[in-house]
Each structure stands twice: as structure tokens, then as C-alpha cells.
């Protein structure tokens, strides 16, 4: 797999453009860590999608940093260390100078802090490979529909990471999560700050109306809470609510097949009594949990493969298609079958699960 290119911005720019091919411009902003932003700038703009929206002046190019332009002599103190960048970032957080959207998504926290933290998990631990990530529309709304597995919904986080780092537009997947997540201390507001919303028609509809990429996992608890013997067998796809929303908003559906999450947290048994005691939908017993205590919550290092399928357009159905229950069932089944086929194919493509 092609690694994300790490090219020094300065060398890159001073070289004369030999092949004449118009290079895509890089974003001119400085990240919170004090380095130049490595994202591509939006067409006809100076900044990438994150910094163009960021809108806080502090996020924009720092006077002492950035690309040297011939019109301006270099500042006397050009060396800003990573620590300065972190200092700026902390100051901004403490002053409260960071924007969040209505759903509570905090792009700065997500992009600058959490994504880099997840990176080792994504690249080294699970060794995630992706297929067809650029099939996700470059702009406008899209509905990602994926299989859900692995007891702890890490799969949704990995899909979000894959699209944020490997999609050409670095789009943010806005997953919709069960309300249980928002009821838990720490997890709840972290989920909001990383762009998640509540799994209900209203939220999905509103996010799609705003042109976001929304991720849904229609299996819900039945998917994450299924036993090892049912691995990679898709459960019932909810009640087709996601199809209705897609039809109403005329949003293309991108089927997503995630291979690897089942082995990361294989559930041997479900302790129903304990689940009822704690008010959880299931209580997993795995080879390591609760045997090793909290350490058992660490997922096993399985190898992952995430495939994004060809988008299925929803705009050639009639206006009131969402009211047609039969059509909704048919479409639900069709998408479920597509993902199931992708799963079988990718299971052999991935090869061995661990080493």
C-alpha cells in the first residue's frame, strides 16, 4: 500500500516545476503542532477544507512560519519548535477559541489530537488496508453503510480514520451511534466531539441535508454483540430506516465491508445476567475478558481490510419512494447482500487473520 507521502514543503516548492503538470497546491496554514499543514488546498483556494472552515485567525498561517514569499523578508526568529505549536494549541483551547458545529463536532480536537493518537492503532496494530476509498463522493452527502462487529465498536472509528487520512478530500465521516454511548461518562462527549451523532432519523437526515458523509451500522447491537460462531454473518439490517433517509434526501449509499474487527474481540459467550445487571445490551466473554481484567479490553492485533463499494444512487426513484415499504425492504436486502458478498471476497483476500 502506498504510504502517505511525507515531503518537506520547502524543498518541494523551491524546485522548478519540470514536468509542467500543475501540482495540486498544499494548504498554506500551520497546524496546531506548528508544522505546515500537509493537506491539499481546495481548488482555487489557499487552504485545505479544514483550515478554510477553521476560521480562527490563530489557525491560519503563523507570521513566523509558513512558506517564505519573496515580498517579505524572513522574520528574525524563524525557528518555532514543536513545543511552541503545542503551546499555541493549548492556549487556544484554554481561551475557548475553537469552533464546534451544532452537533458538537470539534474538528481541531479530532484532526490535531485524536487522529494522530489513533494512527499507531490504525497503521501498526491493525495494519488496516483499504480498497476503493476514493469511491466516496468528493463532495456532497453520502451514506456509508457498514457491517458492525467486534463487541466494542472500534470498526466505526477505523472507518472514520481511513476516510480522514486516505480519502483525497480527507472527509470526516459522521457516524451515528446508539444512545448508550452518549449516556456513558467521558465516552459520551468524546463521541460528540469526534463528530458522532445519535442514531435516529432526525440526526441522519439533518447531517445529510448539510452535505456530510454519514456512517451507519444498521445491525446495531445485534452486530457488535453476536458470538464468534456467527462471525461475518450479517444480522438483520434494522428496520430499513437508513434507506428511507437516503431516499428522502436522495443520497447515494456506499456499502462498506470491514474485515478484521471480528478477530480483534472474539466473543465466546454472552453473560446475559451481568448484562442485565449493568443495563448493557450484552456482556462479552472473550479469551481475555474478563479474565485479564481491564487489560482484556485491549483488542487482539488482527489484520484489517476495509472495502468501500461502488456508490448506489438513490435519486432515480420517485419522490415518495420512502413511503413504499416493499421498495424499502428490497433495497435493504440488496445492500445487505452486496456487503455480505464483499465480506466473503475480502476474507480470502486478507489472508491470515493475525500474523
Amino acid at each position: 500500500m502506498a504510504e502517505a507521502e511525507i515531503i518537506r514543503l520547502h524543498d518541494h516548492r523551491t524546485k522548478p516545476d519540470a514536468d509542467g503538470e500543475a501540482e495540486r497546491k498544499r494548504c498554506a496554514a500551520t497546524t496546531a503542532t506548528g508544522r505546515p499543514c500537509r493537506n491539499f488546498a481546495l481548488p482555487d483556494a489557499e487552504y485545505c477544507s479544514i483550515h478554510a472552515r477553521g476560521s480562527t485567525a490563530a489557525q491560519r498561517r503563523h507570521p513566523a512560519q509558513g512558506i517564505e514569499t519573496p515580498s517579505r523578508p524572513p522574520e528574525p526568529e524563524p525557528t518555532r519548535t514543536v513545543l511552541d505549536g503545542i503551546g499555541d494549541f493549548l492556549r487556544r483551547r484554554l481561551d475557548g477559541a475553537y469552533p464546534v458545529d451544532d452537533f458538537g463536532y470539534d474538528p481541531e480536537l479530532h484532526r490535531e489530537v485524536l487522529l494522530p493518537l489513533q494512527r499507531a492503532l490504525y497503521e501498526r496494530y491493525f495494519r488496516v488496508r483499504t480498497l476503493g476509498v476514493d469511491r466516496i463522493p468528493h463532495e456532497g452527502a453520502a451514506l456509508l453503510v457498514g457491517n458492525h462487529s467486534g463487541t466494542i465498536p472500534v470498526d466505526a472509528v477505523m472507518v472514520q480514520h481511513a476516510v480522514a487520512t486516505e480519502h483525497p478530500r480527507h472527509r470526516t465521516v459522521r457516524n451515528v451511534a446508539a444512545d448508550l454511548a452518549f449516556n456513558m461518562p467521558f465516552v459520551g462527549h468524546l463521541a460528540r466531539k469526534t463528530g458522532n451523532a445519535v442514531a435516529c432519523d432526525e440526526d441522519a437526515h439533518e447531517l445529510l441535508r448539510r452535505g456530510e458523509v454519514v456512517g451507519v451500522y444498521p445491525e446495531g447491537y445485534k452486530g457488535v454483540g453476536k458470538g464468534w460462531k456467527d462471525r461475518y454473518k450479517l444480522q438483520r439490517f434494522g428496520r430499513g430506516g437508513f434507506i428511507e433517509v437516503a431516499l428522502r434526501t436522495r443520497t447515494p449509499i456506499v456499502p462498506v465491508a470491514i474485515v478484521g474487527a471480528e478477530e480483534a474481540f472474539p466473543m465466546i459467550a454472552n453473560a446475559k445476567l451481568l448484562a442485565r445487571t449493568f443495563g448493557f445490551p450484552y456482556f462479552p466473554i472473550t479469551p481475555t475478558f474478563p479474565l485479564l481484567g481491564p487489560l482484556g479490553l485491549l483488542p487482539l492485533p488482527s489484520r484489517w481490510l476495509i472495502e468501500f463499494g461502488e456508490p448506489i444512487p438513490m435519486d432515480d426513484y420517485p419522490e415518495d419512494a420512502a413511503e413504499d415499504a416493499m421498495l424499502v425492504f428490497d433495497l435493504t436486502d440488496r445492500i445487505r447482500d452486496t456487503i455480505q458478498q464483499m465480506l466473503y471476497r475480502n476474507l480470502s483476500l486478507r489472508g491470515r487473520a493475525f500474523i
Partner: protein, 349 residues
């Protein structure tokens, strides 16, 4: 504001309280308003030019005679209160909120002249629950949620209002569900809470706050009373601010408490008269509540002037200065109002 029909005769309930008084002042400046009649149990703290004040209890049948005698065509009901301590205890509060609304609407139903009823309800009718949509639309209030106190009163008052709307389909009924109001001069449980030097929060929870500036709240009521739309509308500022960030913006210190402790702390704060944060609103500090204002923008034609963040900044920058109202900065009536609001001890009322 669109063209306002001439000769409107408007009744404002709760005119001695903040919103009612400010609304009366706002309507007085409006062309086309022929008469403003204010009703409350006590006299307004400051005289308002053009306001005809009548001391009356809206939960007595006398109100029907007031409506008849003053030839009212528009009723703005702002008399649903949220603070039990300031309304003389929870049972008096319920009496005032629910029975008062019932009586008022019964009186309005009798009168043929009444063509419009505007009721100030609250987003408290949605409760605070993590399973609620991130932006709650108006149609979401009929769900079974555990409501208590103020939220329950509002929900019950709304039920009576809807019954009234069914019986008098010729009357334009507007229900405004306002988000928590803060501002330089208003006093609500939210302003009390945000004025604490150390702000207790629930450990591990950081709710999104959505507020409403006091001036926007008054303007929304005026738009409701003078415009020609009908229906139920959420009224709130644009944008949200996390509670943690709000506390930083206000230069205060956060004190995260474990949830059971938070209950006790709320009780203690109330006992010492620092903040009366009704326990039914405690969940707001844990889960938050953000509403969708799309309908108000499209059908009511109301756009708040300040975002939630700007509302907070205005609260921070002007509330402090207002601790000692200055003669040059504030008109006399505002200073009088401020003195009045400060002098009102919870037990006295």
C-alpha cells in the same frame, strides 16, 4: 418586521416580570399598537409609558372581565415561571403556571374579539436525554419523557393551549419554546449558575449548551404577537458551546463532581440561596438539550441576532459592569429595574 395591522390591542400577562416588562416596552415603541394592557399580581417595578396596568390574578375568573372590558384582540402569555423559590414554593408555582394558563385560555375562548394567543413555553418540554436527537425538532415533544417541575408545567400548559386551539380554530395560536435565557439584566437559574465563581459540573459529562439572549427572547415574543404566523416554534440562538468552553469563556473555574454528589451540591446551593437550580433541570447540565430552530426561521420569520457564543460574551462583558449600574451608561428605568431585581429576596415573594 413585516407590516403590522393597525389598532392592535394587546394583553401581556406576567408584566411585572422581566420578559413581560421588556415586551411591553418593546410593543410600546411599535407603530400600530393601539393599547397595551399588562396583568400581574404586583405592580411593574418601573412605569412603562402607554401601559395600562391591571392588578389581577390570571387564575381567577376576573381575567375574563378584563379581556372583555379592554377589548383585547391579542394575548401574550409570559406568566409561566421556572423558579419555585421566587414563586412561593412548588405548589404555588404549579398553581400559577398550570391553573393560571387554564383560566386565561378559558377566558380567551369566551371572547370573540381575541384573534391571537401567544404563549411562552420552554424547551424544557423536551427534557434532557441522551437518546434525543442532537437537534430536537418541534414535533418531538409528545414523546414520553420523565418531566418534573418546570418542564412538566410547560408541557401541561401546552396541552391546554392545544385544546384551546382546537376549540377556537379561528384564533392564531403561537407557542414559543424558548431556550435558556441569559443576558446582562435578566435573572434566571442559568444566569445564577453561570455567575458562580466555581461552577460545579458532572464529572465525565460535557453537554452542549444552547442559549438565548434576553433581547432575542423579547424580540421573538414581539414577532409572535405582531406577525401573522401560527404554530409551535423553538426559539434559540444559533450554534452551541460546550459547557467546559463556556466556563473558560467566562473565566470561571470548573468543579467536576460525581453524579450523586452533584445532586447533593445542587441541594446545598439552593439551601444557601446561591443558585436555585431546580433538580429537574440538573439533567440539563449532564446531557444538555439543543433544539432545531429551522422552523422558526422559515415559518415565523424570526432570526436571533446573537449566537450562543455572542450571548455568553455579552453576559460576561456587561453583567459584571452591571453589578453597580452607572448613571451614564444605563437609562434610569434600567437601573431601577436592576435595583428591583436585586432587592427581591426569594423568600419575600
Amino acid at each position: 418586521m413585516r407590516e403590522v395591522p393597525q389598532g392592535k390591542r394587546i394583553l401581556v400577562t406576567g408584566v411585572s416580570r422581566f420578559l413581560g416588562l421588556r415586551l411591553a416596552k418593546r410593543l410600546e415603541e411599535q407603530d400600530g399598537v393601539a393599547a397595551i394592557v399588562g396583568v400581574d399580581l404586583e405592580e411593574p417595578p418601573v412605569p412603562v409609558r402607554g401601559l395600562e396596568f391591571i392588578r389581577a390574578d390570571i387564575s381567577s375568573p376576573l381575567i375574563a372581565r378584563v379581556i372583555e372590558a379592554t377589548k383585547i384582540d391579542t394575548i401574550v402569555h409570559t406568566n409561566i415561571g421556572s423558579n419555585p423559590a421566587r414563586l412561593g414554593g412548588r405548589s404555588r408555582m404549579k398553581e400559577n403556571n398550570v391553573i393560571g394558563t387554564m383560566q386565561l385560555l378559558a377566558a380567551a375562548q369566551r371572547s370573540d374579539r381575541v384573534k391571537k394567543v401567544v404563549m411562552k413555553s420552554s424547551t424544557a418540554v423536551y427534557g434532557s436525554d441522551p437518546a434525543e436527537p442532537s437537534l430536537i425538532p418541534e414535533g418531538h415533544a409528545q414523546r414520553q419523557v420523565d418531566l418534573a417541575g418546570y418542564g412538566k408545567d410547560c408541557a401541561e400548559a401546552e396541552t391546554y393551549a392545544r385544546d384551546f386551539g382546537r376549540r377556537r380554530p379561528d384564533v392564531d395560536l403561537v407557542i414559543l419554546r424558548t431556550q435558556n435565557v441569559i443576558g446582562p439584566t435578566v435573572r434566571t437559574s442559568m444566569t445564577d449558575y453561570l455567575s458562580l465563581p466555581v461552577i460545579p459540573t458532572a464529572l465525565g459529562f460535557d453537554p452542549r449548551l444552547q442559549l438565548l439572549h434576553e433581547e432575542d427572547a423579547v424580540e421573538a415574543l414581539a414577532v409572535g404577537a405582531l406577525g401573522d404566523s401560527r404554530g409551535i416554534f423553538n426559539v434559540a440562538a444559533d450554534g452551541v458551546v460546550y459547557l467546559s468552553k463556556a466556563i473558560r469563556l467566562l473565566d470561571r473555574v470548573e468543579l467536576p463532581l460525581l453524579l450523586p454528589m452533584a445532586q447533593t451540591t445542587a441541594g446545598l446551593l439552593r439551601r444557601f440561596g446561591l443558585v436555585d437550580f431546580p433538580t429537574d433541570q440538573l439533567k440539563l447540565i449532564v446531557y444538555g438539550r439543543v433544539v432545531s430552530t429551522q422552523r422558526a426561521k422559515e415559518a415565523l420569520g424570526f432570526r436571533p441576532k446573537r449566537t450562543t457564543e455572542e450571548t455568553l460574551m455579552d453576559f460576561r462583558d456587561h453583567r459584571r459592569a452591571d453589578l453597580v449600574p452607572s448613571a451614564e451608561k444605563h437609562p434610569a428605568w434600567e437601573r431601577e429595574l436592576f435595583d428591583y431585581l436585586r432587592s427581591r429576596q426569594p423568600e419575600k415573594v
